[in-house]
Each structure stands twice: as C-alpha cells, then as structure tokens.
Point group: D2
C-alpha cells in the first residue's frame, strides 16, 4: 500500500498514519516530496486495507501496490501453468485446446443424444448441458433438474464425453459430484461465496465463469475461494461483460485471455455463445479466442435451435458444427495446440 | 413483441414467423412497410421470448414491447404504492421517511450498543448491522456470524429499534427469521434466485439491493422472485452501479429513484455509504436521495470509524450523526415526509 | 509516481529504472519490500508519465500518486472557491444558486420570447437556447445557426436575462463572443482540445459539460485547457454519463457534485434534462442536484414541448415552470442559497 | 417506429398519436392488444424521432424499428463490400489484409525512417505516424505538427509506403490533403461533426476510429457524415471502448468486427495497441482481430520504445516486428487473406 497525504497534512497526521501501520505490524516508510508526502506500507496488504486509512485526517489516497489475489497468482506458481486431466482430456497444457460443446439446456434424452453424437464425432473434448437454469424472470423455463443429470449420465456412457453442467445451489452439490465431470459456477454466482466454498470442497474440476460486471482481479479472488479449499482444478471462463454497447448481448473481453495468461497459472477458456447471443458471431469469436491464446472454448449447439426452449438465437446448428470445429482447430493449431 | 424482418425477407419467411407465433397461441399481426415488414405479437411475452425468433431466417430484430416484470409493476397495483409496517414504522407511505443506520459490521456488544443509542436518539427508524459479510477476498474478515445476531437481538431489546441484517446463505435463513426484522439481500446476491425464493417464503420484510451491474428491469424481476412466494413486503435499494468512473467506489444512480416510483409500487430507499465509499460524500448524497423522493436511506455509522474492521472510510462518525439526521429530515420534510 | 517492480526483478532492472528517472531530473527513492521493490518518483508527474516506464523490463505497475490536473485543482486555490459574475448574477458563491432555463433549440423569435418571459418571471438567472445543434445523425435538424444568435440577442434585450448557447465550431467563435454571455462547450466536444483553447482565449465565461464517458479527472484536465489560456471563468456541468443502464438516456452522476466541490475551486452545475431524457424525472433530479450542493442547474423548457423540433420528451412545460423553480429554490435555501 | 401506449391510455390519446403521425405524412397502424395498444409508424424514421412522441399523454415507449444509419448500411449496398485502393493497396477486399504500422508519434526523421524500413521489409501495407497528438492534459507533448508531415512525406518517398496520420483540426485539413494518403479521425473526434464534414470533402480515404464510448450505431452514423459529402472511402476502426474494467487501458470489442461486417459495407480494421496499452497483449489481440475477420490492423512500433516520448508501453519493438507480422499474416491466411 502507498498512503498519499494531502499537501496540507501536518507532521502529526503523518505520524498518526505511521503509528497505525506499525501497530498492525507493518513496516512504514515515509517519503517526503515537494508537494505531498507519501508513506509506503510493506507487507500484509489485507490487513492494511482493513485499517480504513482513507478515513484518517490528512490522508488523500490509499493506493494498493500488491495484487489482491494470492493462490491464483502466477507468481505463486513461479509462472508454471496449471495442467490437469478431466477423464483423459488435458486442460491448460501448452499443446492442447479444449472444445466443450452441447445444448444450452437438456430437454430430452433424444435431443441431448443427437447433439452429443455430432459434437463427439467432430472432435469435441467435453459435453455441456444445462440441468438447472438460472433465469432472470421467475416465470421462465428453469430446466429439467435432476432428470437432466440422469440424461447427461446416460449420454456420457454412450459417447465417452465428460460432462460439464452448472450448479446453481449448494443443496444440489452431492448429486452434481456423482453425475458431472466438471462443475460450472455461472456468471451470476461468481461472487456467491458460499457456493464457491462448496465447490471447493467437492473435489471436482470447476469451470468458473467471470461475473458480467466483475473485474479480472475479482475473478481471481473468486478463484481463490475455490483454491483455498484445496481444489486446484479451476478453469476460468471469459463470457462477456456488461458495457454501454447493446448491439450484442455482452461485450466479449478477449484481452482478458492474454492478460489472465500473464497473471494466473489457471487455464482460461472463452464462451462466445453467451457473450454474443447471436450464432452469426459465434464462429468469428471462437476463432478469435483460439488466436488470442485461450485454452479452449465452450459453445452451444442444437439440432434444431429454432425449436429450443431457451437461448435459441445463439446456438450453432448441429449440421454446421463439424466445419466450425475444424475451423477453430485450424486456428488453435497455429499456436501449436491440438483438440484435447 | 415486435418482430422486424430484413428488407430481403421473403413471403415464406414472414409466413414462417407467423406460424411459429400462432402455434404458441399468440396473435400475430403483419404490418408491411416501405422497406421492411414488421410483425406484432400480442400476448404472452415470456413464451414469445423463448421461441428464439431472432434465429429464424429473414428476422432482423425482435423488440420487446412489454415490461419483463409482472408482480412488481405499478400497473398491477393500479399505481397504488405498497405501504407496510416494520414493528410500527411505516415504510413506503407518502408521508414517512425511513432512516436506517448502524455499524457496517457487528463487532462487539459495546460497539453496537453505543452506535444504536446514538442513532435511536437522533430519530433513526431502524438499526442496521452486518453479521455475515460477503467479502471479495476469502482472506478478509467475514463477520461474527450467529454471535452478531445475538448482539443485535439484545440491542433491539434495549433500544426498541427494529433490526436489518444481510442474509448471505439459505442455511442461515431460520436463524435470521427469528432474529431480524428485515432480511437484507445484498447486491452480489440479487440474482441468486435460490436465495430469493427462500426469503420469499420466510414471511419477513425484505430489503433487496440492486446488483452492481443490474438494470432496473432486472431489479424488478428479482423482486418478482420474492413476490411470487407470497411475500409482498419488499423494499428496493439503490446502492450504486459499476461504471467506468472510479473516482468514487460506485456511481449512485439517483435517477433510479423517480424512475422506480413511476414503474413499481414497492418502496425505494438509497444507500449512499456503499455507493460512495467516502464519508465526505454521504451527507450530500443522503440529502439528494431525500430530495429525489426516496422512501428512506440506509447509512453506516461508527463510534470510531477509523478503528472499524472493515469499510472504515465510508462510515459516518457517531458524533456527527444527529446533525446529519436533522439535515436529511429537513429535506424529507420539503416533500412532506417525516422520519418513520 | 510509484513504480512497482515484479517479484523477479533483478537489481540491474531496478537500477535501470532509477537511472531513467534521474536522467529526467526526478528524484527516485528505492523501497525494498518482502515480495517486491517499489520506487517512488517525486516531482514532475507529466514527465514521468511520458517515460513509458511500464514498458521497462522488471516493471510490474506504474501508479500515479498525484492528481493529473493542475490549474483546476482546489489545492492551487487553497480551497477558496472561484466566484464570478455573469451580467450581475454571481456564480459559484456559497449563497447563490444559478437557475439556467430555456428552450432546447431556438426555433423562432416568438417561441424563444414566450419561454424567456416565463422563466424570467419565475426567477431564472440565465436563458439557455441552442443555435447550432450537434446531432448524431447528419440527417437531423441542426438548428437555426446565426439567426438563432440574433433572436437570443433580441430576447436578452427584452428580458434582461444573460444568454448561454453552445459553440460547436471554432469558426463561429467571434460571433458567439459578440452575442452570448456564457459560451457552452458540449459533452461531445469536451476533449476537442482545439475548441477548448479557442474558448479559453475568447474572454467569455465558459460552461464546460462533462463528456458522456469522461472521468472527473478528465473533466478537470479539459478545464485546464481553458484555464491555461488565462480564462478563469469556467463552470463545470455534470450531465449524465453512459453506463450499461438504458432505462434513462444517461446515468446522472450526482456524486460528482460533492466530489468536484472537494477537488476543484470551479463552480459545478447539473443538467437533469439531458441526463434523464424524460420530463417526469427532471423535477426530482433538479431538487436532488440542489440538495447535493450544486451551484446551479440548467434545464430545458418549452411552451408546447410536444411541438418542439428536437428533444421534446425532456422539456418541462412552461406552465409548470414556476412551481418547478419554487421547488428547486426551496431545496437550495436549505443549503443557504438563493436564486442568483 | 413502434409507439406503445400505457394500459390506461384513452382512445383520445391513441387518436392524438395517430393524428400527429399522419400530420407528418407517416402511415400509422393501430394494433390493440390485451393489455396495451401499439401503433406502428411506417416510413421516415428521422421525422418520427423528432416528433418527440415519448412526451405525449398516454405514451409508454417509442421503439425504433429501423436502423438509424443510412449510407453506411450494408442494405444500401445490397451486401456488397466496399473495396478501394490506397496507392495500390486494396482495402476491404475479401482476399486482402491491411497491416498498418509505424511509430506512435513522429519525433525525428531518423526515428521515423528506421521504423518505416523495418515495417516495410516485414510486409506492412501502410505507415502510420502522429503529427498532431490530442493529449488529455494540456501540459503533455503535442507532436511536431507540420514538421512531422514533412518527415512523413520524405519517408514515404524513400519506402513507398502510403501514410496514415490523424487530423485534429479543420484548419490543418489542406496540408493533410497534400501530405497524407489516409486521413485519420481519432476516437475523441468521432462526434466532431464539423471535422467529419471537412474530411468528407477532402477527397482522401478516411480512417474513422470508434469513440471510446460510442455505440456501433453511432459509429455508422458518424460514417454517414463523411459519406454524405460524397467521400465513399471510409475505413472503420475498433480501438477499444471504455468499460468498468481497468486492468487494460480499454476493452477491445472484437465482437464489433463480425457485427460490423454484417451491418455495413465499409472495411473494418482493429487497433490493438491503443486498446490494450500493453505490448505484451498486442500480439494475441492482433492475431485475434485477423481471426475475427478484420480487414486489417493498425499497430505502433518503435525502435526503442522505452525512449519514445509518449505511449511507450504499448509500442512493439522494431526487432520483434517481422515475427509479429508473419504471425498475423498466418492467421489472415486461414481466412484466405494476404497482406495488401
């Protein structure tokens, strides 16, 4: 932390800040300048932040000079990337790209099976499918629930694809632990800290989506909640942020991909379907995600997306998926990555 | 809904949209224009939204023409405002203003008692105090938990002030129902739909904070989740939204107050403490909230805010609270409102 | 500036930063910490910013610790507020409130005269009226131009109200200097630096509107462009910023008012008409601006706003203006301010 | 336009809207629904927008159903892309990719020449270089001005590279017309309508950067200002928008690339240097831009970026440029595009 005093700050006010820092066991260095004095506080940023120094007389600004996340930091891992396997698929490795695809929502065994076969044949790494759907309006379709988990289990047995599905409530956690291979935490729950601790303890890989107005620092602090429970298999997912632009559903922040690769050891994937809300944009953005260095993508596919019960306009047509997958794979290959 | 076709749309494509709407039981009106054709879909907006018409060939845009929230709509109540009592304090009435004040976090019986007495004497309507604190970093202080609820219960007995505290997890719901008078749902949980349904069933008044990147439509849809469980005592709270401006912690959206008064029958209060994160701004913004027509405010107060364990810089000093309260009350009085 | 090195930074890299700073004549203090080393650079922030230290090997972050604006800073004026007169009306004084009102656009002598008389009688301090209108689409009505300036001059003679109008191009500057009392720089031109320098030289008071995505720091730097030409009569205007919320046209940032009063000596007014785009919200937001401590407001009024050629829905009805003005004045009076 | 009435609207209020539309020569269709009545207004959207119908009694919403831009619309060109040449380089063609590179600011003949040679050899299509720099603070370095134009002219003669430079003021327009091949309009001037009309008349290709808080609709309306002067050679440039995320300087909106390709016939390029402000992100984002289907990129390069007078941290090192260019070209080639 750097505490910057106002130009009018008195020596007593400066001394009061120093005393407060030292009472917390933090070393304080006073740096007098021409206009203002700054005080450097080295060590224990958490503790210093909680001192509320901004409220002290004579204090102008308190500026953090250390990153607020810890366990997710690439410095902790000495810049080695985390690599782990999900049922034989390597995630986070320099030479693999993870293609996760499937229906928005599991609606029936037939619908799920048809899509799963198409994506498996086209080389997908995992199958996605919604069981419990968080919906903005309480009057919308909310998903098949546990029945969907059973359908996913069947289809996994048939296709060999590991399964990703979103957990929306701690009370479903045990059933998810039995049925799915990767537990997704959705954007609206990225700061649902109770849920993060629950998935931290489940012992399953976690796909953690960035909140729609969460900074990257906050995403990594949310990952810290999972990591501190001892679960080190966390996949981060950029899925678009909320901005003033409404031409697309969200603004996909692809700069987040190389930024995260610099600052965290965790794998990073991209969801172009929810970001754009428009299937015509999913192909270009999926290719761009691969080109930006993502470790994978997660996309929605439907046999007849126009008949789907939710999120129709963003789902790729199953008939177009093989060409889409080949296209994305070609871009990943330029970065020496093969489909996992 | 209004479905706007592209200029190139064929009669067959227009017909396909009409058929899809009518299969859903929705009446469709075709309106040919000079450049494009539009199709009006009257009735059942939820169902139409789920048809995913944006994905159909020849469709350019699907434009909602009805509000997405229902139970929270002022049209439902024929523009009568909801008014209810919390332990004798009227909330939402044209002639009352609700002043909720107290420490950010309950840290000890003494600290809570001192602040509670100060705010009670200055005319506060209710006491706020955090028991479980949702913290961005898992390494920050998280609150005293159930011990805090007991402290609040004691202090309520001593001062007569009804108590507001934030519920962060469904598993604490029963204890909250026993201990607090108003259950707060925090900004980060505004779209935690499971939690909303739980508080909907608790039978206690709910203070629902706007998510930091939630639109007002989404706030009202979140209120719908509570209302549909039969709980009609919901207080909405504007507490600042996340924007590009970082001079203050959040951007307080005071336009939301008169907008909400036009569109919903629910009471609307404002939290200037969390919005600004700076006690020097809390007074001006609290007065402005009263002038904008809010039904109340919720602010943080501490005897010695510089010693508080969290959120220090935004807490008012207890010694300044009587003047602050008198100032806000004077502004409320210009709109014919007295402290509840 | 504070330069924070990465944990892996070598002594040579630290030395390179120090050398670069000292070559610029800036004093550098090295502060070794447990994890990282920080280097404080005291003096000449402009010069340090231009060194591009973020690009040096081993540098993690460069954090500004001084405010980027100079002449607009309240520290420069030792916290004395700037007060000046516009044709007898005091702007920026602790005991005056400036009510600027008038039509969006000057459309005819009759229309302007009728509105001017209504607002003058209700106690307005100045008359506003658009001559050249910056329009997003080139196919929209662009204003009457110089004819409008002549109409404003006539109406000023009749009513005695000083006149505010927006300058959109340097080539009109001389005519504006003759015809108007306050030259407005619109939100879209807040960073049109050439125009700022021109108005800085005109010798007329300037009303500088905040850009719709400009930070408060940037607003004060824009004011610096005017001030450095020797023109010290600058009025700042908060008029709503662009955020994700689309329920209103812009999000009025009323927290900006007390923030600016802390950080600059310049007067601060608020434009609730353009911010909200909805006349039903103008009253509540005008009152709130007064309560937040603004030095004034600027609002649009029309005799028959439904017939106005642009921006109809946000204009107050002339018949409602006297009650509106009395209401705002009552709120200003609570802060000991009378209409100027 | 679609005018949606409130549920309480009377038949007289509905009739008043219809009359107002018909007085404007617009055909109105009344569509009674279960809850509300909607009125479709077909034809002349500009005129209808200016009627200010939102202000009429009984009107709930006015919803645009036609695009607000005209000349830039891909419908106008029947979905044929605009293709034109800049000194032999084809811009906008399906099989070409335009690589524009050069120093942020022209600082000396030597500096410019060295960079120009490196980028020319690596296959760049054009040379960029700033002559007049719009700077947020008036105390920052503002560029060499006309001297820079002369340097660019010399270097063009030596390398054969056409030159792109930013015009910041109409008074420099004639000199720019003589000296540069593409006139850039910067983000801060995207809504400087006077300047847009001037460049529209210059007869030179224009590179129009998206404003940092401009919607894509507004970008296309700004292009309309240039196009309506008869200048059809406009290149659009996505350069990052301002959002709540401050980890990078701006948020690069790559979804804008495929969205613009759907909605306009104009070429679309991307500026990853200004968007990210960090050279470590420029490579990944440049590749991503190519993969998303952009017609080109514009990047900053310096021989010794650490010595550059402005924007140092975002400039690529000249020694790394050949590998960078090859990498981007490989991605463009996957979409069948070769460097122009």
């Amino acid at each position: 932390m750097m505490v910057v005093m106002t130009p009018e700050a008195t020596p007593e006010q400066i001394e009061a800040v120093v005393r407060k820092l030292e009472a917390r066991g933090v070393h304080a260095k006073v740096m007098p300048g021409e206009l203002t004095t700054a005080i450097g506080a080295i060590g224990d940023p958490e503790g210093v932040r909680e001192l509320g120094l901004e409220g002290l007389a004579g204090v102008d600004q308190v500026i953090p000079i250390s990153r607020p996340y810890k366990l997710a930091s690439s410095e902790l891992s000495h810049h080695a990337q985390s690599v782990f396997e999900v049922d034989g698929r390597r995630v986070g490795a320099a030479d693999t790209f993870c293609l996760i695809a499937g229906p928005c929502t599991v609606e029936s065994p037939e619908q799920t099976r048809v899509v799963a076969r198409v994506v498996a044949e086209a080389g997908a790494s995992m199958l996605r499918g919604g069981a419990f759907k968080p919906r903005t309006s309480p009057f919308s379709f909310q998903g098949l629930g546990y029945d969907a988990l059973e359908i996913l289990t069947e289809v996994r047995a048939e296709t060999g694809l590991p399964v990703v599905s979103e957990l929306t409530s701690a009370q479903h956690a045990d059933r998810f632990a039995e049925s799915v291979d990767v537990v997704q935490v959705g954007a609206r729950n990225m700061q649902n800290y109770g849920l993060l601790e629950v998935v931290g303890k489940l012992g399953k890989p976690v796909l953690l989506k960035r909140g729609l107005s969460s900074t990257l620092d906050e995403l990594l602090m949310a990952a810290d909640y999972v990591l501190k429970e001892g679960n080190e298999r966390v996949i981060l997912c950029e899925r678009g942020i909320r901005t003033f632009e409404t031409a697309m559903r969200f603004t996909l922040d692809l700069g987040a991909v190389p930024w995260l690769k610099l600052h965290t050891h965790l794998p990073v994937i991209v969801d172009p379907s929810h970001a754009s809300g428009d299937r015509r944009l999913v192909g270009p953005l999926a290719r761009a995600a691969a080109a930006a260095g993502a470790d994978g993508i997660i996309v929605e596919v439907a046999e007849d997306p126009e008949a789907a019960l939710c999120d129709g306009p963003q789902q790729l047509y199953a008939k177009d998926f093989p060409a889409f997958a080949a296209d994305v794979a070609a871009h990943a290959r330029l970065l020496s990555k093969e489909l996992a």
